[in-house]
């Protein structure tokens, strides 16, 4: 697997991707140890619902009780952002696996068999690509009713076409390779050829791509939450926490940054999470960009 060695060397060599890697690792740790970092208070039914400390609106500054303060509605920011990390990964992973799955199935069908099937599937992807993703997602979420589930459904629906196309492209390349021709010549059945020979070679870049889209998925999810199409109020979700802070951007005169903690924190979490993946992604794209010769 010299590919991997090469990749690894590239990654550590490039400071940017290294930073990205570090950021992601940190987030993974936060996600895994969320219950230890921000333990759920006793008698609190749903761990993903941020515990409230009173009901009134105005955010409260950091204190011993609330390390990062509370946001609108007295939701503990620290608890929110920590558990929000889990939400972020949850959304990203689910959406990505669904997307890739659909992508692989349709993509390989289209790419391998070509002809009418290919034409049909590609037209379908056209249909999806022809409609602005965010708004399509909104329509879907608005329909199914705002919730984490519907966000994931909506994003998967708008995300898969590009993957179907990607995989189709790769498959088209690979199927021309000699060994595929050969195994076909030996009379191997189509599914067998796809699974044994074509996919393994075509799927590699796709998986990379998918892992790197995670950032964008989370960003889009946050966008939907911000537009009020997100998780129920009080759910540990960065996008929604930003939405809470939305109306506390400007503090009272004389103290314009009064609510900085409510505004900055969730935004920064989103920013860094996405940044981590994008930095990594940028490096990966360089490495796997077929047009860039390796020296």
């Amino acid at each position: 697997m010299s590919d991997w060695r090469f990749t690894a060397r590239q990654l550590v060599k490039n400071p940017l991707s290294l930073i990205g890697l570090v950021i992601i690792v940190i987030f993974i740790i936060i996600a895994i140890f969320a219950p230890l970092i921000a333990p759920t208070p006793a008698g609190h039914l749903h761990p993903y619902m941020i515990p409230r400390d009173g009901y009134f609106a105005e955010p409260q500054p950091p204190s011993e009780k609330h390390i990062l303060g509370t946001t609108q509605g007295q939701y503990d920011i620290f608890y929110g952002v920590v558990w929000g990390t889990r939400t972020a990964f949850h959304v990203a992973l689910v959406v990505m696996s669904i997307t890739v799955l659909i992508g692989i199935v349709l993509g390989s069908l289209a790419g391998y068999f070509g002809g009418v099937l290919d034409e049909v599937i590609m037209r379908i992807t056209d249909i999806f690509l022809a409609f602005p993703a965010l708004i399509l997602a909104m329509a879907i979420v608005a329909g199914i009713g705002p919730s984490l589930k519907s966000i994931m459904i909506a994003l998967s629906v708008v995300w898969w076409p590009s993957y179907a196309r990607l995989i189709r492209g790769d498959i088209l390349q690979v199927r021309e390779e000699d060994y595929v021709e050969a195994s076909r010549g030996l009379g191997a059945s189509s599914p067998r050829v796809i699974i044994r020979h074509v996919l393994p070679n075509a799927i590699y870049p796709t998986l990379i791509m998918a892992s790197l889209d995670i950032g964008m998925v989370v960003l889009s999810a946050a966008g939907l939450s911000f537009l009020g199409l997100g998780t129920p109020e009080g759910y540990a979700d960065w996008g929604q926490m930003t939405e809470f802070a939305r109306n506390w951007m400007v503090g009272p005169p004389g103290d314009p940054f009064k609510y900085w903690y409510a505004v900055i924190t969730p935004g920064l979490f989103i920013l860094f999470f996405v940044l981590g993946w994008n930095l990594l992604g940028d490096a990966f794209r360089d490495i796997f960009d077929p047009r860039l010769a390796r020296r």
Binding site: A57, P232, E233, N247, W248, G251, P252, P253, G254
Partner: protein, 602 residues
């Protein structure tokens, strides 16, 4: 070449840094910073949402009503801040001919913007047009109720009344007067209130007919004598008035851009009471609070809608004229559903086994009382309403006729709550336990808070009282409450009512009448109450009427068909340059009596 760029980059960065450093202290002292005087002679307000239609007969939302109010006059209007005293407007005077007829005499020499005279025919046409249109979900039932003693022109979607009925209800008499004939006796004040509201605005008959609207006759100039039904419950765009206007009010329509989200009116110099103070009245629809706030403190807007949560953000602006504690004629309440739909997914096991509730769980009075005692109004008012609300004990709220503040109210009392729940018709609930889901419509934080308060207090009484809270979208909410079958799936729901006209009947009917707007979906019905409501509605003797409504208020306390929450207190944030505001709960929109107001720079 390649070296030059980072240099530039650094320079830019440094520059930005300096700028920001230089500015932050500058804007630091915002408190004292005065709000500049801008847009002389113009009134600019920024609010949320948008307009529905400019057609007086169609519009049933405050935003539209407000604009209509500026462009049209009614026959009479509320006097100052009273809700039961009136001043003549287009009518010089009115006389109660008998218990089934009121006559208005029309003022001479009043002109529409296009110069047409305002005549008795116009008045007749305006009201008849409203009744002919009678769009589904519109306000015109308020004409049908007194005049024809029915709620509308249709039943099962088909028109069932003849044109003559409408025609006879409103008649031009002795030249310049218009007489309204009731099929049954109807009290005067409520009718005058109805006639003072925007749906009773007077439009220009000729202009409308000329622009393709109904022409005032049954056949509408064709051979077909049922042609008028073409204008019954029409699509919005069938009338020229939905986006055009021809009234006689103090301001004329200049531009309405629904997409850009603003409407501008310009002064009608020929207004019969003399031209208004503001040359233009601009209403912008800006959903972003930060943006609205900035426009206000920069003087770009004279008035903005300030959500209750954010009033503190404006506290320290000395140049703002904050008017608070205005008792609005709206009320929010929990409704107990005494007859939950069998298909409901919100009541767990549908049985009283600790994991659910039976469909008729709330038909037990003690349960309802227990829940009432378990609600904490003080926390709700202080936290969810920022202290801007007063608890109400019955649908008849402060500001309505015959409001009785002696009516007892429930208050937080967990021991009493415990007592009632343990002595309910279902046996000792705290040992049996129950679980159900409490829904609120997504985004409505006060309602969410109310749910949470109730849930937590119940849990405090017994750990067997499990109330889950779930947000659902507005459409799902409606879908669950207002099922076609009429049987709601939600065990409890919160909803608010806003006054159409400040008469108690307008409130008791939706809350207490067995087939009322809301009560119909709660399975609550009480024959005596229904009878009382019916008689009180048409009672012409004020004394009897008052007695009836006092009884009804007491009845609500006894029966506890729901948890009456609060009557919110409104607030207005004007820049200090706006003068002459006074509050009348019935005036639609934030600015209030704009004609009596003016803007000046001290």
């Amino acid at each position: 070449m390649s070296k030059r760029i980072p240099k530039m980059g650094w320079i830019i960065l440094a520059a930005l840094l300096c700028v920001s450093l230089a500015i932050l202290p500058a804007c630091g002292g915002g408190g004292g910073t005065p709000i500049p005087y801008k847009n002389d002679g113009a009134f600019v307000q920024e609010t949320i949402g948008g307009l529905n239609s400019l057609d007086p007969a169609w519009a049933y939302d405050t935003a539209s009503g407000e604009q209509i109010q500026y462009m049209y006059d009614t026959l009479l209007y509320y006097d100052g801040n009273h809700t039961d005293q009136f001043v003549p407007m287009l009518a010089t005077n009115w006389t109660v001919v008998n218990s089934t007829a009121i006559k208005f005499c029309i003022r001479d020499g009043v002109h529409f913007w296009n110069g047409d005279n305002v005549t008795a025919e116009d008045v007749e046409y305006s009201i008849e047009r409203a009744m002919v249109q009678n769009r589904a979900g519109g306000p015109t039932w308020m004409f049908y109720m007194p005049l024809l003693d029915r709620m509308g022109s249709r039943s099962g979607g088909v028109v069932v009344i003849n044109f003559s009925a409408i025609d006879n209800a409103v008649e031009v008499v002795d030249g310049n007067c218009v007489q309204f004939n009731f099929v049954r006796a109807f009290p005067e004040t409520p009718f005058l209130q109805i006639m003072s509201n925007t749906w009773a605005s007077i439009v220009d008959k000729d202009w409308c007919a000329a622009h393709g609207d109904w022409d005032g006759t049954a056949n509408n100039g064709t051979g077909n004598s049922t042609m008028w039904t073409y204008y019954n419950n029409p699509p919005k765009s069938r009338s020229p008035l939905y986006k055009g206007a021809m009234g006689n009010g103090p301001w004329e329509l200049d531009t309405w851009d629904a997409i850009a989200g603003y409407i501008r009116l310009t002064k009608n110099t020929g207004y019969w009471q003399g031209p208004a103070q503001f040359n233009t009245v601009t209403t912008k629809f800006v959903d972003e609070w930060t943006s609205r706030k900035s426009s206000l403190v920069h003087g770009d807007a004279d008035l903005v809608y300030v959500p209750r949560n954010y009033i503190d953000q404006l506290a320290s602006y000395t140049d703002l004229n904050a008017i608070k504690d205005l008792p609005e004629l709206t009320v929010d309440a929990f409704f107990f559903n005494q007859n939950i739909g069998n298909s409901s997914t919100y009541i767990g096991s549908k049985a009283l086994d600790g994991n659910g509730i039976p469909t008729n769980f709330f038909s037990d009075l003690n349960v309802r009382k227990g829940f009432n005692y378990a609600f904490d109004w003080d926390t709700y008012i202080s936290d969810a309403m920022q202290g801007e609300a007063t608890q109400v004990g019955s649908p008849v709220i402060d500001g309505l006729l015959y409001y009785n503040n002696a009516t007892p109210k429930y208050s937080l009392n967990l021991t009493l709550a415990k007592y009632y729940l343990e002595h309910s018709g279902w046996g000792n609930l705290s040992s049996i336990g129950f679980e159900f889901t409490l829904c609120y419509n997504t985004g409505n934080i006060p309602r969410k808070t109310a749910c949470e308060i109730l849930a937590e207090n119940l849990l405090a009484i017994s750990e067997n009282f499990i109330v889950n809270i779930q947000p659902i979208t507005w459409d799902t909410f409606l879908d669950k409450i207002f099922t076609i079958s009429g049987i709601s799936d939600l065990p409890m729901f919160q909803i608010g009512w806003q006054a159409d006209y400040p008469d108690p009947d307008n409130f008791v009917t939706p809350f207490q009448y067995s087939s009322g707007d809301f009560a119909a979906y709660t399975g609550y019905s009480n024959a005596t109450v229904d009878a009382l409501i019916d008689s009180a509605r048409l009672e012409t003797n004020p004394i009897t009427r008052q007695a009836d409504y006092y009884t009804l208020q007491q009845a609500y306390y006894n029966e506890a068909p729901g948890i009456m929450l609060v009557q919110p207190l409104g607030r207005r944030f004007f820049t200090k340059y706006i003068h002459g505001y006074y509050f009348n709960p019935v005036t639609p929109g934030m600015p209030g009596p704009l004609y009596d107001m003016y803007k000046s720079n001290p």
